[in-house]
């Protein structure tokens, strides 16, 4: 009977195909409001998935990813506001700039060990946020930086923008999945489990951690760029440390040990925000309570909890 059970990856493939069908047909089955929520959900899910490369797969808590998100957002906004470059040329530097900032932050933060890592990343992130706030002439300060009419006509409609964001997110998540399933991804898992032992296998652990951190920063920057295109502006909130906490909560809610966990967690957060806001403005209080409940009672997250109970072939110890 056991041999008739599907594997986890078969079930995952099935769910993935179903999700893809739903996402590609969403503009035809929903209204403008849900399409807008769909765009925000895609960006949030993508941000959390890219972040989990660092958090779930490498086991490192970073509080600088909000800053990388902000770097991507402000890079696009700045180039739109100050240059007349073609749109797609303006988009490309955003994740690269975020990756460059992640390289600097990671280079210094990984040197001091895991105990101080989260604090250092928080410090770097807030440094960037303060720079944005203070450099009013360049960034618009608290009012943000508008990108005006820079968007191509095809992206001015919600449907056009939705498919653009969906395409970017699908391609990026596909790349992240390839990285997770690669030799490098396997090495990251081992580093998460026992960093010292990996060093004794001849691996330069700090180098691997830095590479993963930069890749994760790259995708955070792209997510920030996409949100700027959606909002038609970049705001200081995009780089605040609270922005760094959003993907952490999404990962914990959905589950850090399942690839789609962070995306599902981000979806739960966004839908909760939308539903609870109809009842009270204090939706973050409700969200905080739910995250606490999940941490205590579902330590593997919602998706992790469900995945453990799927009727699939399992390894001994699972």
């Amino acid at each position: 009977m056991h041999t008739l059970l599907p594997t986890r990856s078969h079930l995952g493939l099935l769910v993935g195909v179903a999700m893809l069908i739903l996402l590609t047909t969403l503009p035809f089955i929903s209204n403008e409001m849900w399409l807008t929520i769909g765009i925000r959900l895609l960006i949030a899910a993508f941000f959390a998935t890219g972040y989990n490369l660092c958090f779930g797969y490498m086991g490192t808590l970073s509080l600088a990813h909000g800053a990388f998100f902000g770097v991507g957002a402000y890079t696009v906004a700045f180039l739109c506001a100050k240059t007349s470059w073609p749109f797609f040329v303006v988009l490309a530097p955003a994740p690269v700039a975020a990756a460059g900032f992640a390289l600097i932050v990671g280079y210094f933060s990984f040197r001091l060990g895991s105990l101080f890592f989260a604090l250092l990343t928080l410090a770097f992130g807030q440094l960037f946020w303060i720079l944005i706030w203070k450099a009013y002439n360049i960034t618009g300060g608290e009012y943000g930086l508008l990108i005006g009419e820079y968007i191509p006509d095809a992206l001015k409609s919600s449907t056009g923008l939705y498919y653009f964001v969906l395409t970017a997110v699908i391609i990026s998540i596909f790349i992240i999945r390839k990285i997770v399933d690669s030799p490098f991804g396997r090495t990251l898992l081992a580093i998460r489990e026992n960093e010292e032992r990996v060093e004794f296998l001849g691996v330069n652990v700090k180098r691997c951690q830095l590479i993963a951190f930069v890749i994760s920063g790259f995708f955070s920057g792209l997510a920030g760029a996409l949100l700027t295109i959606f909002s038609l502006a970049a705001f200081p909130d995009y780089a605040h440390w609270i922005k760094s906490v959003e993907p952490v909560m999404a990962c914990l809610l959905g589950g850090i040990h399942v690839f789609v966990g962070p995306a599902i967690g981000a979806a739960i957060m966004l839908l909760l925000e939308h539903l609870v806001l109809n009842v009270t403005v204090h939706w973050q209080l409700v969200l905080g309570g739910i995250v606490l409940l999940v941490i205590f009672f579902l330590p593997d997250g919602v998706v992790g909890f469900l995945a453990e109970r799927l009727p699939v072939k399992k390894k001994l110890g699972q």
Partner: protein, 265 residues
């Protein structure tokens, strides 16, 4: 001083085959001298045991050899090349593998995946971002598992393994990176009699059939005297004896350290 205890002519020949040379290693932690002018030579194909009471400095010595700790003074030469002060990963890449007193495994990875990580490092594929990893080096992993008696556990999580199997896996990972010498810290500690027999048979097989060189520390003297070809005895950071098992048994200094008295044995 070379503690190999062999005649000059055979000594010269064996020196040409020396794989590991420890010269005057010293390490202190505050006022505690954990290693005090430690020096010895390991020859290719040796199965050398390092014994001594708790706190004798055995693990410190292993940490100094493998680069986990930096010595205050002294040198470590591997195949004639200086490795003193090199980082752990560089020493591993040169051919020194290590296992630990408490088995260091990857709890949420399977046995197969764990060995795969070791092989990825050996073949320098660990930074490959886009190749699929699922069946990479599959034959090599399965071959190692069969050799070490872990085939039936291939797809089990490391956390679910019995302690003895975790120890075997720890040793297998050290082997998988292409080591030419294995430094094993208490390889049978915490193992059942059956597991102890399996591991000691394995160590003998690695030396006799595969030409491996092994240096191990142990408290189980039955194991030590059962398989070691050379025994080094440490006490309070110093080497007090280095000889064949038969000579070590008769050594009065060793008897005093272990038994607190001399015997006629």
């Amino acid at each position: 001083m070379d503690w190999s205890g062999r005649s000059n002519s055979s000594q010269k020949k064996r020196d040409e085959q020396s794989i590991l040379q420890i010269i005057g290693l010293c390490k202190s932690f505050g006022e505690v001298q954990a290693a005090d002018e430690v020096g010895f030579t390991i020859h290719a194909g040796d199965l050398t045991a390092i014994i001594g009471p708790n706190g004798a400095g055995k693990t410190t010595l292993f940490n100094l050899i493998t680069g986990y700790l930096q010595p205050n003074s002294g040198r470590v030469l591997f195949e004639g090349m200086e490795i003193t002060g090199l980082p752990v990963r560089d020493i591993c890449r040169r051919g020194i593998g290590r296992s630990f007193q408490v088995a260091e495994v990857f709890p949420r990875l399977s046995v197969f995946d764990s060995l795969q990580v070791a092989l990825l490092s050996k073949h320098k594929r660990h930074l490959n971002l886009f190749a699929g990893v699922k069946d990479l080096f599959r034959e090599e992993v399965l071959s190692l598992l069969e050799m070490m008696g872990l085939s039936q556990n291939a797809h089990n999580l490391c956390a679910a393994l019995a302690r003895g199997d975790q120890k075997k896996l720890d040793i297998t990972m050290a082997l998988a990176i292409g080591s030419r010498i294995l430094i094993l810290d208490e390889p049978v500690a915490g193992s059942s009699p059956e597991e102890t027999l399996q591991i000691t048979s394995l160590l003998s097989k690695l030396v006799n059939q595969f030409g491996m060189t092994i240096v191990f520390s142990e408290h189980d003297l039955d194991v030590v005297f059962g398989i070691a070809t050379t025994i080094i005895v440490m006490h309070e950071g110093r080497i007090i004896a280095c000889d064949t098992p038969q000579e070590i048994r008769k050594n009065r200094k060793v008897q005093k350290v272990y038994l607190g008295e001399f015997t006629d044995a």
